[in-house]
């Protein structure tokens, strides 16, 4: 169990697909927990926090400030404050990569590009939240259509010598297009590379709206897909860094904001 001086704070990020909790003490991650969100944001927050507390070997009574973020933030019980995931991802990414200038967060059903300001604040942002195209949900649907595990998509695309162009903008129509490509005998890896390229194109458009500022950092669950990361880096023409545990960055940012609040209030963490 990590020792801490009692300034233990938590950030809880409840998204559409998963809920994460990160415990921070003295600016360092002490423990974390991840659960599927399921049908209840409130329960997801509770379960994620319980996992993190168990990992740290502490109880809820040892916690100070708790900040909730993510789509389900309003449902998290016990949060002292809610902060949007834009601000939290900016803060978390900056903590891990202090010279980060742009954060790309692709989550379960939306994607964001965040321009960082001073000290990890979000100076500007663009969101794509009107449809699931280009998000984690998009990749889930495509993985099912291709009958490959989601976690293999990155490795598959690396084997492709070319990317099959995917023209559909909509997840449903893209799925139909994928099925057609499979029927035409296009290799699965080329289709996957094409899907990653489609996501990269969408992200490129969003980055262009803000203007590219490097270094670029990618966060969120989709950042675990090295194929998507590579495709985005290729399209942007620059490196894209992925911190360890990219799916935890939102919760980490929330925890760091909780620590800031605790320090500002003079409260014992």
């Amino acid at each position: 169990m990590a020792q801490h001086d009692g300034r233990l704070v938590a950030g809880i990020d409840v998204g559409s697909v998963s809920g994460e909790a990160v415990l921070v003490a003295n600016g360092r991650v002490v423990a974390h927990g991840t659960v599927p969100t399921g049908s209840s944001s409130r329960l997801a927050g509770e379960r994620a926090l319980a996992l993190a507390l168990a990992q740290a070997g502490v109880g809820a009574a040892d916690l100070g400030y708790v900040v909730a973020t993510g789509y389900g933030r309003a449902a998290v019980a016990g949060a002292r404050r809610t902060v949007t995931e834009i601000t939290c991802h900016a803060r978390g990414a900056w903590h891990l990569i202090p010279d980060a200038a742009t954060v790309i967060d692709i989550g379960g059903q939306d994607s964001k590009v965040i321009r960082l300001g001073q000290r990890g604040t979000a100076a500007d942002f663009v969101m794509n939240d009107r449809c699931a195209a280009g998000t984690g949900r998009f990749l889930e649907v495509m993985a099912r259509a291709l009958e490959v595990p989601l976690e293999r998509l990155g490795e598959l695309s690396q084997r492709a010598s070319r990317a099959a162009p995917i023209s559909a903008m909509c997840t449903v129509f893209a799925e139909s297009e994928v099925v057609s490509l499979v029927a035409e005998g296009v290799p699965v890896e080329e289709i996957v590379a094409g899907l990653h390229g489609a996501i990269a194109e969408r992200i490129f458009g969003m980055v262009q709206r803000l203007g590219l500022a490097t270094p670029v950092v990618m966060t969120g669950g989709v950042a675990h897909n090295a194929g998507v990361v590579r495709a985005i880096a290729r399209r942007l023409g620059c490196e894209v860094a992925v911190p360890p545990g990219p799916h935890l960055v939102g919760a980490l940012g929330a925890a760091l904001i909780a620590a800031d609040m605790a320090a500002a209030s003079g409260e014992r963490g």
Binding site: Y71, V83, T84, E85, I86, T87, D110, G117, T121, A122, A123, D124, F125, M127, D129, R130
Partner: protein
């Protein structure tokens, strides 16, 4: 109150029965009993609007369909009743009739990506919800589909002739003269259709009343500048209705005089502490949480582009020139660079920290310049956040997404 709401709904449930007038009577009764209004002037505005609607639906006076920028002074001078078709579109949403009207518009092949305000009005015409007009008058700006929709609506609800006013996209004496000539011609045509003679004295009086209302609007704006947050933006945006339909009538003077007096009497209140925001375009006409999301995050919407007075007093001796000048100087009829300068002036007056633009689906005239406006405002230190949505149709709105976007925007301002 719930009973009256239900009764009104029942009367409107089958538009073919032609029970809009009784529904408006019920609404008038409901307004008299409603004690929930924050401002008595707000209730006066609503009552005045309902009475004007009743005049339109009773069928005893000639009705003219008008678009937002058509000067109602011309109609009042002839004793005609203005009926705002876009306003009707907005009202369908307030009354929960939007989905019916939009479905009717869809059956009439109205493109789904066109403005739902006009589509709802078109659907209302298809359902027989609109009064029978003597004529329809519309301007070529600001909305790109106004002329075609008004032509359709005039045919459905009439048939009635459409008079189209071509508003030049330039601020010059020639442009004013060009439009003034059209206003004069349109007025002459309406007089002929109504079998009436235009009396210059009546038109001069309408312009005089319009000028008087304008002075009261200036007083309202002064109060709002001095005390940001005094009048809720959602209430202030209702001014667009009397501007388009009451100016030139004693009722127009009464409404704005009431607001000016009531705001001046209002007790002092603390200035907003958090970020101050300017709202661009309208807010949805159905119940929404956009402002609540901003206020929950600690911000206050203190002013709106739509409610900034943009015209000078007209000379009653030269009514068509003054009214033409008003049309042409609308902020949606000027180059974007000028629009940005006007917005920055408002931002300075209200000490605004940021702006929110509601990008209404299909509203190309407001969204087309968004990037230029964003850059222009940002360069002057006023960041702009865009929120996409539909003013009329609440279906498919992503409240969670809107809330995240707006809260995150406020967080960037803090």
């Amino acid at each position: 109150m719930a009973f009256l709401d239900a009764l009104r709904g029942a009367l409107l449930a089958n538009p073919r029965l032609g029970l809009v007038a009784p529904a408006l009577q019920v609404e008038l009764l409901r307004l008299r009993l409603d004690r929930s209004y924050a401002w008595r002037s707000q209730r006066l505005l609503q009552e005045t609007a309902v009475r004007l609607g009743l005049r339109a639906y009773r069928g005893r006076e000639p009705v003219v369909f008008t678009s937002i920028m058509v000067p109602p002074e011309l109609l009042y001078a002839l004793g005609l009743v203005p009926f705002g078709v876009e306003v009707a579109g907005a009202v369908t949403s307030m009354l929960g009739l939007a989905s019916q009207c939009l479905a009717a518009a869809e059956r009439a092949w109205a493109p789904a990506d066109s403005c739902s305000v006009l589509r709802a009005a078109l659907g209302g015409a298809e359902l027989g919800l609109l009064p029978r007009p003597l004529a329809a008058v519309c301007t070529s700006c600001p909305c790109d589909s106004t002329a075609k929709v008004y032509a359709h609506v005039a045919r459905q609800a009439g048939p009635a002739p459409l008079l189209l006013l071509d508003v030049p996209y330039e601020q010059s004496p020639d442009a004013v003269a060009y439009l003034a000539e059209q206003l004069a011609a349109a007025t002459a045509t309406l007089a002929e259709l109504a079998g009436r003679k235009l009396e210059p004295a009546r038109l001069a009086e309408a312009v005089r009343l319009s000028n008087e209302a304008r002075r009261h609007v200036l007083a309202v704006m002064a109060q709002r500048r001095a005390r940001p947050g005094l009048l809720a933006s959602s209430d202030a945006l209702g001014f667009v209705y009397p501007w388009s339909l009451f100016l030139g009538s004693p009722a127009g003077v009464a409404v704005f005089r009431s607001y000016a007096e009531e705001l001046a009497e209002a007790p002092a209140r603390p200035a907003p502490e958090g970020p101050r925001l300017m709202w661009l375009h309208f807010m949805p006409f159905y119940a929404h949480e956009l402002v609540a999301a901003l206020e929950g995050a600690g911000a206050a919407v203190v002013c709106e582009e739509m409610t900034q007075l943009y015209w000078d007093e007209a000379d009653p001796a030269q009514p068509f020139v003054g009214l033409a000048r008003r049309c042409i100087s609308h902020f949606l009829n000027v180059p974007t660079e000028e629009r940005i300068e006007r917005l920055l002036a408002v931002a300075r007056d209200y000490q605004v920290d940021g702006a929110v633009h509601f990008s209404h689906h299909g509203c190309r005239q407001s969204q087309g310049a968004l990037r230029v406006m964003r850059d222009g405002l940002a360069a002057a230190g006023v960041p702009l956040m865009e929120v996409e949505g539909d003013l009329i149709d609440p279906r498919g709105r992503g409240e969670g997404q809107h809330r995240t976007r707006l809260e995150a925007f406020v967080e960037t301002l803090a």
